[in-house]
């Protein structure tokens, strides 16, 4: 009994997104970037968020951190409603939730030294003592595998992409946040560097007890780090499930298509002979009903008329499809 209570507290929900909608104007038209997305992230878990470019996954990540204001819906972080917060309160909350970007070089100010960049979060959060700041910066730089003495006085352009990404991770970690949104953190990196950074993220997660939202377009990368995976298509969630299960038995035709399309580095695995044609429609005028129906071999009249809702198809696996795969 006691154990159960403790486990419940430990595995309690850290982040809860409820019916989040993000829309913004582009000229005279409206982009439906995120439409009615609900999800939960438990404390200590990594949720992978997968989708093709333009599906709204980055917008969702930024809307969670209130870097882009939602049109409607709520974001609850540790029980507090971020979407209702403003000014100083929001700024204080931000220290607990951080962000890592895709482009490691663009995410560092080219005219500031690495030491200043990593110390900036401490300055903003009011750590006045310069020596204490330096101690913390040294600690976190060592943690991400950089030699503080060698690195702190240099400018970002003196480093490679992989090293810059380490600096970004150090900056995100220096305030000891609970939650980090990783927005395609490895897609700009080469294969050999990518593996280093993925391993580092896993290590840091264990060391600092982090909860991660890991956004990527590469299913294999997402699987390598995630406990659960959410698949997004054109602003809506298609499928959410335990990663091993979701990859073994995808229930949504889109998840299946994504899996099939991944090139496998094995000459005996012949690539799928015929990948269905078609491309994602524009988020300015998404299709009615199920948004995937224009490319789905199983689509019928119902898919045209009714928006499918996420429902449980197997333990721990939700799918938004009228005709899920067996």
């Amino acid at each position: 009994m006691m154990l159960d209570v403790m486990r419940a507290a430990w595995s309690g929900t850290l982040l809860k997104v409820e019916n989040l909608v993000v829309e913004y104007g582009a000229g005279s038209k409206t982009v439906h970037a995120v439409s009615d997305v609900s999800l939960e992230v438990a404390r200590g878990e990594t949720l992978g968020l997968v989708g093709e470019s333009g599906c709204g996954k980055s917008t969702l990540g930024r809307a969670i951190l209130q870097l882009r204001r939602a049109t409607s819906g709520r974001v609850l972080f540790d029980g507090e409603e971020l979407t209702a917060m403003k000014g100083e309160a929001l700024r204080r909350m931000r220290r607990r939730a951080q962000l890592i970007f895709q482009d490691p070089i663009a995410s560092l100010n080219p005219r500031r030294r690495i030491g200043d960049i990593v110390a900036e979060p401490l300055v903003i959060s009011g750590v006045k003592d310069a020596r204490e700041r330096e101690a913390q910066v040294s600690e976190v730089l060592s943690a991400v595998g950089l030699d503080p003495a060698l690195v702190m006085g240099r400018l970002p352009h003196e480093f490679s992409g992989g090293q810059c990404q380490r600096v970004s991770i150090a900056r995100a970690l220096v305030l000891k946040p609970e939650f980090i949104v990783c927005d395609e953190p490895v897609s700009a990196l080469d294969v050999s560097i990518r593996a280093q950074i993925l391993n580092l993220l896993e290590e840091m997660k264990a060391r600092y007890g982090l909860t991660l939202l890991f956004i990527a377009h590469d299913l294999a990368v997402v699987k390598a780090v995630s406990d659960r995976v959410a698949v997004m298509y054109l602003g809506r969630l298609c499928e959410v499930g335990q990663s091993a299960q979701l990859f073994a038995r995808p229930a949504h035709p889109y998840t299946a298509l994504l899996l099939e399309a991944i090139p496998v580095p094995d000459p005996d695995v012949r690539p799928a002979e015929r990948v269905p044609a078609g491309e994602p429609p524009s988020p300015i005028a998404p299709p009615s009903g199920c948004r995937f129906r224009t490319r789905c071999p199983r689509a019928d009249q119902q898919c045209r008329e009714e928006i499918p809702q996420l429902r449980l198809v197997a333990p721990g696996q939700h799918v938004a499809c009228h005709h899920p795969l067996a």
Partner: protein, 290 residues
């Protein structure tokens, strides 16, 4: 642990890859000329020069002599003294007016590029209105009403420079504000003021500084043009523009009276252009300096 091994393996190159950019001898010649003009203008009162406004009707258009190193002008005034004091006007107006543009235009541009929205529309719109007036014509019109004085001239030329500085600052801010390090600062809870001053300003300042030097060159030319037409600094104060204008009357008798200040002006403008352009090239994001 794999990561710790990396700290040794993937260390940074032993010597930082400093961008060694050769500025070239021309840059330094131009810079040297700028220093000379500055020095002469600053020390004009100390230098052993005759008064630039004392007329000597007996010695009109006197040739070059030991007494008058560059001769005298149509009213018998010492050409060298007028040239040196003219440098003062060129520099005072040329430096002060772009300061106004830099301060006001730079701030407006950064704010517009960072906050976007209605504020940006207003700023850009009002700059468009200001730009609708051909600059020299507006300057002429305003001096006609305000009256000729160095202060008025500086103010007008300064205001006319605002739109250009606004454009440079706004363009730089727009591209920077979309960069992820600015979003990272927002995610850290940095205030707008902090982002503007600590993240954006250091990056916007260099292109603005380079443009400032080009602005100095443009202002010297504009002041020269107004004075040339007799609508710039009020006589008898000497300015290179008015000296060229006066020299034009005696182009056949003593072309030197027009050409000496012309050469001084050309060299100064060229120097500012050259130094500014070199700096601009260094800070051009296309060259990968950012």
């Amino acid at each position: 642990m794999a990561t710790l091994e990396l700290a040794i393996e993937e260390d940074v190159a032993a010597t930082p890859a400093r961008r060694v950019r050769r500025l070239g001898p021309l840059f330094w010649v131009a810079f040297g000329w700028m220093v000379v003009v500055f020095a002469v203008a600053l020390l004009a009162d100390v230098l052993p020069l005759p008064s630039p406004t004392d007329m000597d009707m007996l010695e009109r258009r006197a040739p070059i002599s030991a007494e008058h190193w560059l001769g005298t002008d149509g009213l018998g005034r010492d050409e060298l003294a007028r040239l040196v004091y003219g440098a003062r006007i060129s520099l005072v107006v040329g430096l002060c007016a772009p300061m106004i543009g830099l301060g006001v235009g730079g701030a407006l541009g950064m704010l517009a590029g960072y906050f976007r929205g209605r504020f940006e529309t207003w700023v850009v719109g009002s700059m468009d209105v200001l730009l609708a007036f051909p600059p020299l014509i507006l300057a002429l019109a305003v001096t006609a009403y305000l009256g000729q004085s160095i202060l008025n001239l500086t103010l007008i030329l300064g205001v006319l420079g605002i739109p250009a500085f606004m454009r440079v600052a706004r363009a730089a801010t727009l591209t920077l504000a979309r960069r992820e390090f600015v979003i990272a600062a927002q995610a850290l809870g940095a205030t707008h003021l902090r982002i503007l001053l600590r993240e954006l300003l250091p990056n916007v300042l260099l292109p603005l500084a380079a443009f400032f030097l080009l602005g100095v060159a443009l202002t010297i030319v504009a002041e020269g043009a107004l004075s040339f037409l007799g609508l710039g600094v009020p006589p008898p104060i000497s300015s290179w523009g008015s000296m060229i204008g006066e020299g034009r009357e005696s182009l056949e008798a003593a072309p030197r009276l027009a050409f000496i200040p012309a050469i001084a002006m050309f060299l100064t403008v060229l120097s500012f252009n050259l130094v500014g352009d070199t700096l601009r090239a260094l800070t051009d994001p296309r060259q990968g300096a950012l």
